[in-house]
Subunit: 202 residues, 2 copies
Amino acid sequence: MAELTPDAQTPARRGRGRRPADQVRAEILTAAGELLLAEGMAGFTIEKVAAHAGASRMTIYKWWPSKGALALDGYFTVVAPTLAFTDTADIVADLTNQLVAFVHLVRDTTAGRVISQLIGQAQTDPELAAAYRERYSGPRRALAVETLTRAMARGQLRPDIDSESVVDQLWGACYHRLLIADLPLTEDFARTLVDNLIRGLR
Amino acid sequence: MAELTPDAQTPARRGRGRRPADQVRAEILTAAGELLLAEGMAGFTIEKVAAHAGASRMTIYKWWPSKGALALDGYFTVVAPTLAFTDTADIVADLTNQLVAFVHLVRDTTAGRVISQLIGQAQTDPELAAAYRERYSGPRRALAVETLTRAMARGQLRPDIDSESVVDQLWGACYHRLLIADLPLTEDFARTLVDNLIRGLR
DNA sequence: CAGCATGTAGACAGCGTGTCCATATAACCG
DNA sequence: CGGTTATATGGACACGCTGTCTACATGCTG
């Protein structure tokens, strides 16, 4: 694995007493995020985070309920959310743009690996699962549903469709390829997803 | 957690020397499967499997490359594959039946929890990921694609659709709700998925 | 200034991993 | 049948991580 922070000389010796809470939290979070990007969930350890942050493990145990919760917090600290939804008047273009952007985020940055491993960890870490739903997948889903609802209001889509299920058939299909990876997650794939749904198979 | 096998008196003392390979393998696999169903991936440990099987840890390390590979083998040993695809002449009915059956398998049996945790583990266990694709998701995907291809040949679907992407939009959507669980995975949801795709959104 | 909340260092037991032996015995082959 | 090889076993070991507990230092608040 790569060096985390080449110039990360542990900031001198640090005495024993209390340090400003905000500062410690910040150091722990950036250390967690960097460790996550560098080694993934496999090498992500409370002990390592504490060491990189120059903090005590006790402090971490005190403030974070689980390894996953800490990892998620660290992820948000280091990776920008990138949640913006373009909203032109064309639902097909909007969906395609969003899906393609998502595909690129997941394929061309470290985020893809991290996200899949966070979801993986969430399968056995209820604290992380709840936090992930509340802070990541929930908001993203809401934005997509909103976009679909506006298109229905504009008459671009049938008014009786279940937007939530559509979200699962677009983004869920991408997550499927991300998490199972039988087949590659490509830009063409994203376009095909929109096309399949809009035109119908018949 | 529950008792694994109430009558699991360790079969007497077992000497030191070699034992029939097949017998040992079988005992390890059933122990692995039972442990997986009883405790899930969180409590799944080489040490526990060895203990329940009355075998030596060395034997397991010798024959299985990773914890995940052992878990997957154990899963297949204990849970029947249930891979049969009904094939009437009606593609809508076929897809709906299969999806509904999948939803029930995942919701009403222990399999759902185990599958999601295996996929979760696969995100940080390449050995498991490869084995899962090859032995589970691959064959299942192939069956679904086959069904779609036949329907295209019968003229029930457009001849130019990309079957693979359709699979992602049906089963992948279900996996999405299984793994993320923002929203419940219901029978109605499965029906809606098919309906969305067949009729189109427009 | 006094007292409390909080961070720190260090220790500890517990558990799982991965690896190494020496030994015992099944499986195989002449 | 007998000798050789492959394999399972019990045991031990060092290692790393988890959680928790203690004693102590120090910022923060009133």
